[in-house]
Symmetry: C2
Subunit: 352 residues, 2 copies
């Protein structure tokens, strides 16, 4: 990472013993401010209300949530501690349904707990270490994804991305935006087209903010404009992140990803997915089995103080869609690149 | 039209001798209020600033703009009148570039003027009549489009539409929404999925409002969600309007239309375009020759009082895109339906 990237680094999650500080992403880009959590319930609420979002960041936050709860409850009896921890896991698991990194992180934390359930104080200390390890590994993982993916990014590439997959969505560096960052840090003169990503506007609010801060050229568009730009030859590749990748390579990602993949196919533009192995869910056979979160109508009928839809209108607000593996040119992972992913190649990836 | 439709009718444009009243569509759905224009310059500004929008409504407004100017200037000398009218035509023609109905209406008004240029008072009276004739014909045209199109709408159909193509976009009834209205009035139990249509949110603000007012079931979605709903079998057909149709059948329409057509093809969902012949521009060979308006960055960086994109971000904001004729299942026009439109079929349509 060069000096520029260091200077512009964003601390999405900060662990202070007994407290997790999270950039309140609802306030960006107007205000950079932190929310503080001291219990699993507070972390779950921060995930649910999208103070923190992005599959890897959600996984890290959930791990810290478990650690916070263990710390709070470490002076209880063995039975009380055990019950409190079970409740904490349940609360965190119920916060959001689609991103699998959440369940992956909780499972790792549960294994740690299982090894120390007899001694609450030892468990609390160990769970804090385990959460920090997950957090630190995510940063390293993202840098490895960036190194693998950037080989597919030619000098001068105009990269379309969707939603936010940067430092704000991870422990740092980013997945799809991590590839962008790595390519730029390697001296490639790339530029980004950021789709605004309705309804939550992560592209307009977060990706644009991160890229301006990182001095990477960015052009903001409405989601509707992606097809037009592709048809005019203004997009060289699409790189997106993922919330869950099924065993066959189908990708659940932010709503609006699937249309980009269909358009990219039509225009013979490579469509890449950058994600850590923790996003791949071998127990989910294919995209049809991935639960799609339905979020509130209020996200669609307006924004912040403004309401633009008429009162009483029915709304459908699926937060994710499924891109079939057949539309994915390659997966960029920390173990390298999987071209034209399918079930066999993904199984082999875990054995590399 | 049944009693329900009569009761819910929207008067988008109202001609009061010497004054054109327009629903200020920027204020909907919060407030139903009229803006008043008494000159061509005021009408041009109303078109530019989207007080009035929708290709047929823009055509009608421009015709009234010419009539207003003639009335204002009818007591001038012949030379002054002629110069004022030339300026009025130029101002109106420069208001927006893509919708061809604007130029079509101006051309018809120019022919009327040419026949009466010697007598300003007679010209003013004749131009007012001509504008009213264009307005009344548009309403009849839309009803004919509705009758033609509704034969392709089965009972129970779930119809995805984009932008606003209803009474607010026309002299009344609507084009794509006119087909919906005609189908409902014929007793078909249809429902509409309205895409919100960023950046200007005509779907969320105008289509949802019109349909609720007309008691037609409507579900509002983000533009990003259309692909997901199609992939889950929740869309039976797409019907959109058009701002300009080239001689070969390529369709310029609101940005985001082209992705819907590509998605519809993938899911074998019929993709219909409803438009009057005045939207077909035989002098434009194909979609590449249609000028695409680029609108202001402010439409993308926020809405009304709210700003969500960071300061200084670059924006691309094309207002229209081109759907190639090959993706259009059929055109619905006032002279009937043109399946799989191409240059030959469109030429023959004008001879029907």
């Amino acid at each position: 990472m060069n000096a520029l990237s260091e200077a512009s680094a964003v601390e999405t999650l900060r662990w202070r013993d007994g407290r997790l500080e999270l950039i309140d992403q609802r306030a960006l880009p107007a205000r950079l401010e932190y929310a503080s959590c001291t219990s699993a319930a507070e972390v779950a609420e921060a995930i649910r209300s999208m103070v923190v979002r992005g599959a890897p960041a959600i996984g890290c936050a959930a791990a810290f949530g478990v650690a916070l709860e263990a710390r709070r409850e470490q002076h209880r009896t063995r039975a009380e501690f055990s019950a409190a921890m079970d409740a904490a896991f349940a609360t965190l698991a119920a916060s959001r349904p689609t991103a699998v990194n959440l369940f992956w992180a909780l499972e790792r934390m549960r294994s740690e707990l299982a090894a120390h359930r007899g001694d609450a104080k030892a468990a609390a200390a160990r769970l804090a270490e385990a959460a920090l390890a997950i957090f630190r590994a995510d940063l390293e993982t993202n840098r490895a994804i960036g190194r693998a993916g950037m080989k597919h990014v030619p000098d001068g590439a105009r990269i379309l991305t969707h939603c936010n997959t940067g430092a704000l969505a991870t422990a740092g560096h980013g997945t799809a935006l991590g590839v962008v960052r790595s390519a730029r840090d390697a001296g490639k003169r790339i530029s980004v087209i950021a789709s605004e990503t309705r309804p939550y506007l992560q592209g307009a609010r977060l990706t644009a903010w991160e890229l301006i801060r990182g001095r990477i050229p960015v052009t903001l568009i409405t989601d509707n404009a992606a097809g037009h730009l592709m048809s005019r030859g203004k997009v060289d590749m699409v790189i997106v992140g993922a919330d869950r990748i099924a065993a066959n390579g189908d990708v659940a990602n932010k709503i609006g990803t699937y249309p980009l993949a269909v358009l990219a196919l039509r225009h013979r533009i490579p469509f890449y997915v950058a994600a850590p192995l923790s996003t791949i869910d071998l127990r989910t056979a294919n995209g049809k089995a991935i639960p799609i979160e339905e979020r509130s109508a209020a996200e669609v009928t307006g924004y912040a103080g403004a309401r633009w839809a008429p009162e009483g209108v029915e709304v459908a607000n699926p937060a994710f869609d499924i891109t079939p593996a057949g539309l994915v040119s390659a997966l960029f992972t920390e173990r390298g690149v999987v071209k034209r992913p399918n079930a066999g190649k993904i199984r082999r990836l875990f054995k590399r």
